[in-house]
Point group: C2
Chain length 122, copies 2
DNA sequence: CTGGATCCTCATCGATACTG
DNA sequence: CAGTATCGATGAGGATCCAG
């Protein structure tokens, strides 16, 4: 009797781990930030340029949330002008492994989803 | 020169496949519904009981969205009283494979995330 | 350069009541 | 049994201005 089923089940009771994760990275920007930092360490304005259409306001909030959950780390250099670098933590890198599989699935099946949406609009 | 990097990148241009997926699945209930249907086909009220604290309103909306994207199928039986069964489609089952990996990651790392949150509140 | 503070808008979600 | 309609609350996200 293995506990495969149990491992695979969602715990409907509080706290729900996957809910914690989805609530944090399910927003509009978190995943884009993580994917940008997966390539390389970046500072605030570099991230802003990289992502493009995010406001500085939302970038700031997103970074703080990701840092609070341990996905990224923030390093301040006491220079003039100030420099702040954001780096993926081990936890963040670990998270991107299963997440990249899901991203790959999304890329592979995007056509099927679009097709399903079109079919119902006929 | 492989295209591994390209496969792994998020397309910042529209439409973004992973955004389509996260927008649909990132809400409060979709994943719970899919996980419930992963076990077995269920009818509306069975799902309602199974998930527990979802309102019929939200269950109805969630089911419709999932059906629209092809994750589940809806079968109506012309009986009295009416019977409607919801089943996972091939696409839905396919989606749960990478998703289950992510769920497993969330379970495994939930403690680390909680720890990160506590550390900052000190 | 790296943000915080404030105000605003809009989509989402819940509660309630109603229908075939 | 299986939903829909309507209304109100809530919070995510954007715009703008200000600060260290």
């Amino acid at each position: 009797m293995t506990n495969d089923l149990e491992d695979n089940m969602i715990d409907f009771e509080q706290p729900c781990p996957i809910r914690d994760v989805l609530d944090r990275i399910g927003d509009q920007w978190s995943l884009l930030v993580l994917k940008a930092l997966e390539i390389q360490t970046l500072r605030f304005n570099s991230l802003h340029r990289e992502i493009g259409d995010i406001s500085r306001q939302m970038l700031s909030r997103t970074l703080k949330k990701l840092e609070n959950d341990g996905y990224i780390s923030r390093t301040i250099y006491a220079e003039v002008p100030p420099r702040v670098e954001y780096t993926l933590t081990d936890l963040g890198g670990s998270f991107l492994k299963p997440m990249n599989i899901l991203i790959q699935w999304a890329n592979d099946n995007h056509e099927a989803i679009c097709l399903a949406r079109k079919n119902l609009s006929q």
